[in-house]
């Protein structure tokens, strides 16, 4: 018990390049092959469970997806026009912008090899580290949307704080109205997020899409690039006493079944 207390104390007191971090790095590297091996063995079982689970709601999901495809087809055509117009106007104005997603990032695909036990932290460990170019504060995504941020790195592994973690916060905007807010975990359930700090005069509707804001001001900038999808608004509410609206978001990413993720490394760093 005393040894555990000493370890906790040393962990908190040592810096990121301190001796204990080195020990943890070495230990993590030694255990990485075991974690990868266990993950490979578990994968078929996880896939079988996912397949059986998806069969239950397959019919209704297919209907929803067909409707969504029709809507998205319309929007894709409109977006293509807007994109061409935007490109032309940018060239005209010689507009300077911050890093854009996904154009200014090189994704590093990484397998998820660990998840902390217990209800206290929401994180995953991925099989890519500093030797692959991953650094602390690199954003992590899947094809569905934003997953979180790299918080610790060893040469071969990295710890990613999920958006559902109590300490995670992302500046985000409503894609339709550009209403800004901060995406945080929901206090009720792990399956949803909330868009906090949305002013009462901003208009947000159910089914609006929320994406990362990617702001840049006074030499500071958001850790997340602009335009990464986060989720869809499921409810909007406000009371007379609250200063802000209560906006609930259904995240695009299923945080409970992450098998592989993409760590976004800025292209300029890899050059």
């Amino acid at each position: 018990m005393l040894l555990s207390l000493v370890l906790v104390t040393l962990s908190f007191r040592s810096s990121d390049d301190g001796p204990l971090t080195g020990v943890q790095s070495a230990g993590s590297s030694v255990l990485r092959p075991f974690a990868v091996g266990f993950e490979r063995v578990a994968q078929p079982f996880r896939d079988a469970y996912g397949w059986a689970d998806s069969l239950l709601g397959a019919r209704s999901e297919a209907e929803e997806l067909r409707a969504e495809v029709r809507e998205l087809r319309q929007r894709a055509i409109q977006s293509e026009f807007a994109l061409q117009e935007n490109d032309y106007l940018r060239r005209l104005l010689e507009y300077l912008d911050g890093p854009r997603f996904p154009a200014d990032f090189d994704p590093i695909a990484a397998e998820v090899i660990g998840r902390p036990a217990g209800a206290f932290t929401q994180a995953i460990v991925v099989a890519a580290g500093s030797s692959d170019g991953v650094r602390v504060n690199d954003p992590v995504v899947t094809a569905d949307g934003l997953v979180g941020l790299v918080t610790r790195v060893t040469p071969r592994t990295a710890r990613v704080q999920l958006l559902t973690d109590e300490e995670a916060a992302v500046s985000a905007v409503d894609l339709r109205t550009s209403a800004p807010g901060i995406v945080r975990h929901s206090r009720g359930t792990r399956a949803t997020l909330v868009l906090d700090r949305v002013r009462k005069q901003d208009v947000i509707r159910v089914r609006d899409e929320i994406v990362t804001a990617g702001w840049r001001a006074s030499g500071l900038s958001s850790l997340y690039p602009k335009g990464i999808p986060i989720g869809k608004v499921t409810s909007v509410g406000q009371t007379d006493t609250d200063l802000f609206q209560q906006v609930q978001i259904d995240p695009y990413v299923d945080f409970g079944s992450l098998d592989a993720v993409l760590v976004l490394v800025p292209t300029e760093r890899r050059r």
Binding site: M1, L5, V8, L31, E39, A117, F120, T121, V125, H185
Partner: protein
């Protein structure tokens, strides 16, 4: 404990720790996931006693903290105490009781969750009490109780029961 028993117990705890971090933690049903490693450590404590329980709890916790890059020492502190408590229960009132694994797993799951919550709070980490102490705890409790008897049988079969001193038939008051 013989070297063979130590090796077998270490292997069981190591495999449980790896399974916990790679697979079991993601089996979230009803808001919580089972804690296989906790159940294994409790079983080792019940079968082999308080000191082996504490030692293997510490070992399992260090493995988890290393694999998950968590703050080194937190999981091992919780599991060291869990193994020790289970061991003391096994050495005293719980010995030879059929449902000792269920009682130990139930009580220690609740206590470990409460202790973990207090520990994270004291370390300045933000934790939602309702989720940690109600939603996740109830689900974990149900899962752990379901795992208690089969895991205990498995650990007993692998690690083997240690020789135990007979309890004294009389209570002697020393002045």
């Amino acid at each position: 404990m013989s070297a063979g028993t130590v090796l077998r117990a270490s292997a069981v705890v190591f495999v449980a720790a790896m399974l916990q971090t790679v697979i079991v933690s993601s089996l979230v049903v009803g808001g919580g996931a089972p804690d296989l490693l906790l159940v294994v450590v409790i079983s080792v404590g019940l079968i082999r006693g308080s000191v082996p329980g504490a030692v293997f709890g510490f070992f399992g916790g260090v493995v988890v903290d290393l694999v998950t890059l968590d703050t080194l020492g937190i999981t091992s502190l919780v599991l060291t105490l869990a193994g020790f408590w289970a061991g003391r229960y096994g050495e005293t009132t719980g010995r030879d009781r059929r449902f000792a694994p269920l009682a130990a797993v139930g009580a220690i799951t609740v206590l470990a969750s409460l202790f973990g919550f207090v520990l994270h709070y004291m370390l300045g980490e933000e934790v939602v009490a309702r989720h940690a102490l109600v939603t996740a705890l109830l689900a974990a409790l149900a899962w752990n109780l379901a795992l208690a008897l089969p895991v205990h049988a498995l650990v007993r079969g692998t690690v083997g029961e240690g020789a135990r001193a007979e309890p004294s038939p009389e209570v002697e008051v020393l002045v």
